[in-house]
Subunit: 312 residues, 2 copies
């Protein structure tokens, strides 16, 4: 199997209660790739500027990821985002967004990345997501992300993308905005009616939920006493979730497979937020990921009831 | 075993996107009692006015609850709260609070309610909670709730109560405010250092978490497409949680017991929010509660991994 991800490869400036970084490697496709590369061959499709160094590219290329689809524009600058988090790390303010070379991003996929079995459309303009879908031969599983901006200004194109993918990964605010349904379950069911078979609701520090046509699953975030930098958590989650599916896929993904994939996404994301940027992901080992998944199982189980209420 | 709860018995006016109720039975002790009475004999200790009808009292007395500790003040009015919920039911605005007879509430417990095995101190002034603790003979398990107001204006007394209970039940915002720790886990651990052996963090639509000295457990809310009125969800949860503990308690509550108690609290609360006020709780059956607990187990389980990442 192989996984193609199309999205931003970027630099971020981040301020959290634990410190400040003026320029660190970031971007949805970067975080996704660093997580998914634990499971399978990944192709990252993106666009960067002349300021993107070989050492930055080497990080994206970790664990065998193919970076030949990352175009480097000689006279351009890399997409730059700056943000600041509040004291409890749940609120964040965007201080600056410079699209730079990303403004003219028109993804062109190599033969190898078109041949992927699994495709992840990270958060980019829906029209570009459609263009990528056209280029891919026969992916067995396609998942996508998006954001409030596209729900606002490119709603029709976004719904066309949603119609054509297997799985939508959005946060709770985006699901509500997209469907105008107040409950997460209601909103997710409305998305499933558009076409996908699964919706993953990202709930930030509260974890995530998986909604399929006739099932529901929820998983808490891995409990951490200290979160240093939440940047990239959602994209790391997506990389672990989609990566696990790619590794185990045999026909349609089953409910047990999707649930385990959620656990891998959660375990990987919990590592990302423990340090700034991609730092922790770069040092992470497969054994550490497995251990956290097992730990997640332990903290979410409760035993069958010894004495139901009705019998009393 | 028997359970004593001390707290408000009240009237609420509520407006949600699903309708409006000008006066319905409410109050923390009411919801707690209606939930806990599924498990054990409950004594409700509270104070109401002349406007509190026999039909209201009959609801509080359901499933054998002892209401002889509810003082009815002949020339007084019952505590009244009015609030309005936002479109997604996660935000709410208090429109009116009239303490009325509750302002001079000085709980005096009957012999039977002092003899309780399990005590729940619902959200009242910490000084009153201390007074109740003094009156109770030898409860085996004491849990408490509180609110932002007491953290602000009666912090020392509140910490004195916390020091003397087994379990603190607060929402995430209250835990953060009380401890000035940004993460829920960190905040809960700081509370445990004050004395209790367990902290339950109520996370609203995201569920709840249980933090003990060396363990953690999280449970999502039961997924509902439609929430009609969230009023009383937290107190119903507490009633189910504490009720289950009272029913099964044999020595110190074990981690498996506390986890199952969380599931009962969650199941009961999910019924409360499906209708206005206490309506659904009044009609609820033990079998319906058991079924929802079993359902909760189903939607939170994932299978052990067939192929750990490390082995690949």
């Amino acid at each position: 199997m192989s996984i193609t991800v199309v999205g931003s490869v970027a630099f971020d400036a981040v301020k959290t209660p634990f410190g400040e970084r003026e320029r660190m490697l970031g971007g949805a496709a970067t975080y996704f790739g660093l997580a998914a590369s634990f499971f399978d061959q990944v192709h990252v499709v993106g666009r960067v500027g002349a300021d993107f160094g070989d050492e930055d590219l080497a990080v994206v290329a970790m664990r065998g990821t193919d970076v030949s689809n990352i175009e480097r524009v000689p006279d351009g600058k890399t997409f730059f985002w700056a943000g600041e988090y509040g004291w409890d790390l749940n609120s964040r303010e965007t201080l600056d967004t410079q699209l730079n070379v990303f403004e003219d991003f028109h993804p062109t996929l190599s033969a190898a990345s078109r041949d992927c079995d699994v495709l992840f459309l990270a958060n980019i303009q829906p029209e570009l997501q459609l263009g990528v879908l056209e280029q891919c031969r026969e992916p067995k599983f396609v998942a996508m992300d998006s954001m409030n901006l596209w729900i606002d200004i490119a709603r029709d194109a976004l719904i066309e993308v949603i119609r054509r993918v297997d799985c939508v990964v959005l946060n709770d605010a985006e699901l509500r905005q997209l469907t105008e349904r107040p409950s997460i379950v209601g909103a997710a069911r409305a998305v499933i009616e558009m076409g996908p078979t699964a919706v993953v609701a990202k709930l930030g520090e509260y974890g995530s939920a998986l909604i399929t046509e006739d099932d529901f699953f929820a998983l808490p975030a891995f409990p951490l006493e200290t979160v240093v930098d939440p940047t990239g958590a959602g994209d790391t989650f997506a990389g672990g979730f989609v990566g696990y599916i790619a590794r185990q896929l045999d026909g349609e993904p089953t409910e047990p497979l999707l649930r385990q994939a959620m656990a891998y996404g959660t375990a990987l994301a919990s590592h990302t937020v423990e340090e700034f940027g991609t730092q922790r992901l770069e040092r992470l080992t497969a054994g550490e990921v497995d251990a956290r998944v097992e730990n997640l199982r332990r903290i979410t189980q409760f035993e069958p009831l010894p004495a139901p209420l009705e019998a009393s």
